[in-house]
Symmetry: C2
Subunit: 218 residues, 2 copies
């Protein structure tokens, strides 16, 4: 059977940098959310809608991970959030040292919540801690309802599951209950949200929760 | 800037195995297609529909790559094609040695075309040759129309671009022309197909082309 080729010592070095990031941001009262999904499940759009809704209520900073382009950072910055783009130039996930370097460019005085948008990939990002307090994985109703079973590590290592694009349910073959069941079998502690970032359905519930997360345990 | 961490000598060793696969299958008159996409863009459904339509006309063998589960291989086998499942147990792409080993289980006398369904991932599979004659990348209309610019290596290294789920166009914000323009700017030689594996639109054109590809240059 093929082996996972990431060497354990590289991951251990990453974990050590991630722990330092987590502790130094916690000391400033900043909470960190790492958002992961397939390409196109709606990470950037969720960020846009979230920032719009929480403007004036919560200082949000964003680190945008992409292989190429600064298109997403431009979309987020246009919503008024402090944003730093990381281009990995081919690498399939963010690593903690990239976050450490990007944080040099963030005005930490202005933020209470740091959101990291990872590379669009349901596989590799699951192995790399970035110093986050919480991980959210987004699935969308147009990508097939078998994703938790096929990419279990992503769901096992997350605390939040967002099912996005529920406005498309009439037009696709997607069983939301099956997805929840599969995901909860892998990780019974997942907190579930259903939403459509296009129509706005479910966004109030999400933003209320995010606000309470950002302000908890301080 | 972060470096791509895959060592060149590992890729060179992979290329050497891939070349051997390509040559030994070519000697038997078998052509090889490597299909790649995000999770849920429709690789398995395309295979199901293709096998149904070409049954009796073309001997098709399938190697199914997944991180976990044999659900896809079961779907394909139910359509009557010779199928072997590879489970990578965490690895984010297929490698040539996995194909070499899987081919031990394929009755090569019965097939003219080998289709490899790669792991759902727009990043890592682009770097790994599997002995294919041709690569197809699938994008779907529900995953956002910025994928070629954001994942350029996948589009640069493919010969075919399939835009799937065109039945969803009325319900999503997706500009097919923009996607084609972006993709052709990266790779002007891409052959383009538009289809809906759900409604069947575009599948005849695809199957006609696939048949001529499988039978060409022998």
């Amino acid at each position: 059977m093929p082996k996972v080729t990431i060497a354990q010592n590289i991951l251990a070095a990453n974990d050590s940098i991630a722990l330092h990031i987590k502790q130094s941001l916690a000391a400033r009262g900043i909470r960190v959310l790492n958002i992961m999904s397939s390409p196109g499940a709606g990470k950037t759009t969720l960020l846009e809608r979230t920032i719009e809704r929480l403007r004036g209520q919560l200082g949000i900073g964003v680190i945008e991970g992409d292989i190429e382009t600064s298109a997403d950072a431009e979309r987020i910055e246009a919503r008024g959030a402090e944003t730093v783009q990381i281009n990995t130039r081919g690498a399939c996930h963010l690593e903690a040292h990239m976050i450490r370097d990007a944080l040099q460019q963030v005005d930490l005085e202005r933020i209470e919540l740091l959101i990291i948008e990872n590379i669009g990939n349901l596989v590799c990002p699951a192995d790399w801690n970035l110093g986050e307090d919480m991980r959210a994985v987004i699935v969308s109703t147009s990508e097939g309802d078998d994703k938790p079973a096929k990419y279990p590590q992503m769901f096992a290592s997350s605390q939040i599951l967002i099912v996005n694009k529920i406005d498309l349910l009439p037009y696709v073959d997607y069983n939301v209950e099956k997805v929840k069941r599969q995901a909860l079998a892998i990780n019974p502690h997942l907190r579930l949200f259903e939403m459509s970032c296009r129509t706005g359905e479910g966004l109030d519930t999400w933003c209320d929760w995010l606000l309470s997360f950002a302000r908890s345990d301080k």
